[in-house]
Amino acid sequence: MNSLLGRIGRNDLRRHPVQTALAIVGVAIAVAVVVAVDLANHSAREAMQVSVESVAGRATHQIVGGPGGVDEQLYTRLRTELGVRDAAPVIEGGVTLAGEGGRPLTLLGLDAFAEGPFQRPLGSGDSLGDSFNDLLLGDRAVALGAGEARRLGVTAGDSLALRIAGRAVDVRVVAVVDDREDRARGLVLADIATAQALLRQQGRIDRIDLIADADTAAALAEAVAGQARVVPAAASGNAVLEMTRAFQINLTALSLLAVVVGAFLVFNTLSFVAVRRREAIGILRAMGVQRHEILTRILGDALLIGLAGTLLGLLLGFGLAHALVGLVLQTVTDVYFARAAGDLRLSALSLAAGVLVGLGGALVAALAPAREAASIPPRAALSRADLEDRARRLAWQAGLAGVLALALGAAFIVFSQGLIPGFIGLFAVILGAAFLAPLFTRFAGAALRPLARGRPLGGLIVEGAVASLSRTGVAVAALSVAVAAVIGVSVMIESFRESVIDWLQGSLAADYYVTAPGPLDDATADAIAALPAVGWVSRSRFHDLQTATGPVAIWALGLPEERHPALELRAGEPEAAFAAFASERAVLVSEPFAARRDLAPGDGLSLPAGDSNVTLTVAGVYRDYGSPTGVVLMRRALYQQLFADTTLSGIGVHVANAAPGDDALQARLEGVLAGLPGARVTDNAAVFEQSLIIFDRTFAITEVLRWLAGLVAFVGVVSALMALHLDRRREFAVLRAVGLGRGGLGTVIGGQSGLLGLAAGLWAIPLGIALAGLLVFVINRRAFGWTMGFELHALPLVEGVALAVVAALLAAVQPAWRAGREAIATGLRRE
């Protein structure tokens, strides 16, 4: 019995292949976006996890020191005096491939004698086998994982050209180790002696990895107190993972936007199905088919569409994920400086999410139309006028729901703190505005009516668009949501970019920046300061301080007496803050740092220094987009006091007397740096440019998602409006019978469509602006701690409206063409 009723539905879907296909495609795209983003996020997380693990192995704790690392004799003491067995020394240094755009690699120096328990991918004697001796004894001998060797195009026995701290060094690959999961990606393994010699770190190692339980770790911490500290091994890796979480939540939220639009699509299609089958359902009800049987049939059809769309979407999503994963990992590497390189990894959860979205979304979206269909009385006793009455009432109900949703969303945002409640509030606002869209369309129509007076065509257009609100309401809502998303994200990115430019212009105070892969020293800075045409220099040292909760980025800045840092303070009175910075045990912290640790001016910040902790006062919070992990800025004298580190990471050169672009000066600077391999002089315009390039690259993925959401919207509106027009063939036939020519009919259809598109586009503007505002002031703030300005330009708004109108006009093409060609009588026969 079911099969016959089911056949009605399936035949019906097959008879309207374009609409059915469009609904399937809409679901497919939504599923694809969700799956792709989830897979990309998952792969990125796994890749970072692997990166962390491949370097940390099974280590539970690490013994770390200050900027100078750990004295190697401490390891001997651990072994011979304290009898510690599960300890392994580690030297880790950044090197690059020689040649243009040298890819960064990590030179990892390990002691194979100690590596056994740590199970690092390249570490132990087991994996090295016969090359063990070569690695230990050979001059500049290194080993690579099979994947990395392939990437570099070398095999055992080849030599590899690297640059280490600016020097050109050729190393010899003595072993290529089987590395199935590519866990040794980006690693160059050497015996610890080789690494120490190559990195010129005599007497020092970077850390000692430990496998120990909590008690042993505590005992060791006491034993090494004064010389070094014991921190949890995962601290640094976990810290990075934690921070990229916010970034990944943003991506997921964007992908869910696509789902919202996809769900609207299914809803829309099934509403049309219910309308289309009104008479048939009336007959079936007359013949004695029960209400619930009608309901399940509609749901069954929804399930079919959902299933087809989901399967297609899973395949599409898998393909899309390949593209996205590269973008996500690039962003993570750029922004978080994490060594995250990897491939796409499948996750059952991601695919399950896709299935849930596709099937679940289809079913949920189908509920209301299914109930509507089930409530159609036998023999369709209701007239079309009644239907429209109902729709009007529904529009008011929806409007009420919309206002409620808006209020709820606002409440969520105002009264909550976290990122996820922020997103919930955002979605509530979007849904609220979507529910209000049909009402807006009515009002727009009412407003336009006076304009159309006296113009018959105009009247037809306006009435036609507004009168069939039962069908157009949902289409307008869906389209406005998607266009609003497109607008909102554009405005947010624009605002962010402007803020970054402002910030760069403000903070790039020096005329030239001197950097080197190896450390610089005061002598070089003095030599530069002594050059004619140089007004003064700033001296900077960057150091990642290892703490129990992860690394803290410290920026030590040395300036001449009367100068203070070129920063924009967001909290703390500038005069007082800079004064404290210059003379007291006070620091300035960047916004992300303050947000993460909940710090305000006057709070204390505890940092490990030497053999104890010091408490520094937070004098102010400044704006900094350079690092989402946050920075602690202190004056260099204080830094040297606390950490006994006199090296420099960078020197800022300020030209005297605002002399015009002086090539001679650049040449002279380079002369001073001649002895330092790899040292570079960059003018601040180049730094500016480079920073923006990285920014744009970071938002590449957001752009991609924005356009995907737009695509779903496009497909959605074409589908909805086409169905609308195709449904009114009789109406159009009557018009033509009455005397409206083909051109006139095309104008009417196109005009109605365009009007609806315009309504959606216009409604999307305030929604899009509100969205952008939420993204700028709520989401970004909560995710990263950044504040930024709000820049509203006309272009994104115009783009959005244009998208809506173009989609709507496109949707009118086929129906208009068809209505024009069809014999009038045929059209009249339809009802």
Binding site: R7, T80, R85, A193, A308, L311, L315, L346
Partner: protein
Amino acid sequence: MRRMDPTVLALAALVGLAAGIGWWRFGGLADDAPADSQNLAELMGPSADADAFARVTGPRPLDFPADHGAHPDHRTEWWYFTGNLTSEEGRAYGFQLTLFRSALAPTPPDKDSDWATRQAWMGHFALTDISAGEHRASERYQRGALGLAGATVQPVRVWLDDWEIRSEGPDTLFPLRVQARESEAGIAIDLRLEATKGHVLQGDRGYSRKGRDPANASRYYSYTRLQAAGSVEFADQSAQVSGSAWLDREWSTSALDEGQQGWDWFALQLTDGRDLMVYRLRREDGRTDPNSAGILVDAAGAATPLAAGDFTLTPTRYWRSPRTGSRYPVAWELSVPSAGLRLAVTARVDAQEMPTTVRYWEGAVSVSGSASGVGYLEMTGY
């Protein structure tokens, strides 16, 4: 009436395709094969670059205390302690502590780092609780750099991590403090050794030939009767112990000939004050190699070398190792007619095979027959 709906067919095909892709993506992961144990004899045999190392080619006078220390240009070297101890309560223990040095290259590496070295050290520490019949052992590796492992003289100190032997005085080897601990295995010793007799030179004034090639030889001396006193820990028990110990010192580059399978080495301390050491080199075909030798030291310390023909060894009982499947003779008949010795040498505990990377049996034995005593037996190449 039940014709296959084309829509259903298409959906089934899509599902099948998706499942197929999923299947193909998930490959199985094979386990790594475990590493095999190695035969000690294989390590000791000739190898390609043996010529580059220093070789023992003839007798040379030994120079102490320098020769108590390391000989870095020779490939292999060890400090080899064994002993039988008894606690105040009458429990019997056997111990073995060996520190091996292995030179991985003929010349030192040219690297600007204190970690650079060509010396690899290995330590074996074993303790047998004879009364309980239980044997525990531990193995360690370390590089000979940065003070992590090595040997120095004045005072003599040889160590690997926290396993250490150290002479109390700057010029003499004994009294010697021997300390080793392995928490994971639950064993530790802390002994003070004193020499009751002087050292004896093995072979021809310390030149101990092992094969037809004169360069297949080692420099070899021993302290055959040491007094030991101190403490041991085994499982949760600790005890004050005393007893006798034996130190073998040997260094070489390649000691074994081609065709030599392994050896059986006996170090016996008899109650009449004599010490007897014999070793039998076994050929692959089972015959005794004519380079087998021994030494008999009387109570005063005078040593008489023994040649292969001066003693006979006959295994009388075998034990099969459950771990490796090797069959070791754990009871022997040893006769040295010229010394009037007809001895039965029996392992005090059968299961004293070393669970180390290098496979061999090393354990405390008791002596009975025409004389009685205790000793240690080492068997390789099974």
